[in-house]
Symmetry: C2
Subunit: 135 residues, 2 copies
């Protein structure tokens, strides 16, 4: 019942760390040191963020990662989608098939209402808004 997984958590922290950096490019190993995360896991996360277009990367000496957009432009929900798929608080499956009462099922409706509000709130959280109050 976690809303965010460790994947997402690590990714957000990495994005924050990159955003805070003075140099524009920072290498994976530097991030590992700053964030004290398992190296291969973070590497995979960075690769994914790059593939999904949130980071840019450069190889070779002096290479590394940089934000592809401004910290205001990167939302939490975007990162969540990458690592956890689309937000769906109620799958409401019944064995392999959908709930037979799917149409008049009020439990689903109520969860869906909650989901909508959660999504609105998640969209409002950006890397920049996470960093803002941190010092």
């Amino acid at each position: 019942m976690k809303l965010i997984t460790r994947n997402t958590d690590y990714a957000v922290r990495a994005l924050c760390c990159i955003a805070e950096q003075k140099q524009e490019v920072i290498s994976g190993d530097q991030l590992v040191k700053s964030l004290e995360m398992p190296r291969p896991f973070l590497r995979k996360i960075l690769q994914t963020l790059n593939k999904e277009g949130l980071l840019t990367s450069s190889k070779g000496k002096g290479g590394g990662f940089a934000l592809a957009a401004s910290p205001e432009g990167i939302t939490l929900i975007e990162v969540m989608k990458i690592f956890q798929g689309p937000i769906k608080l109620s799958e409401h499956k019944f064995k392999k098939s959908d709930c037979p009462r799917i149409n008049d099922c009020l439990l689903k409706k109520k969860i869906d209402e909650i989901e909508k509000e959660v999504i609105v709130k998640l969209k409002a959280i950006t890397i920049s808004s996470i960093l803002k109050n941190r010092r």
Copy 2:
């Protein structure tokens, strides 16, 4: 990232079904028929609900389960706690330990805000409110 697991889902449906029943007591097997759920799984769920005090049970012929409280008095969050533990949208663990920035970590704070509102909404959902609009 599901908010409710199948355990909870089944339990809620069973509670609804029991609440709708005319006779006060309904057996596990009758519920299996009505709800089309895996028999041993539902049985376990009913046992748990009984142990946790949401149901009362009686053995032997004519026995079965009945609600221990009125449908208005049983909240969704109560059922979730039983099957999923306390609501914690952000565990925010860092390997085995807590996030080192735990105190000034704004990501956690923001998730916590969302969590609070979700809890309020979950508390407002009762068996009775789920049944209400169903016919």
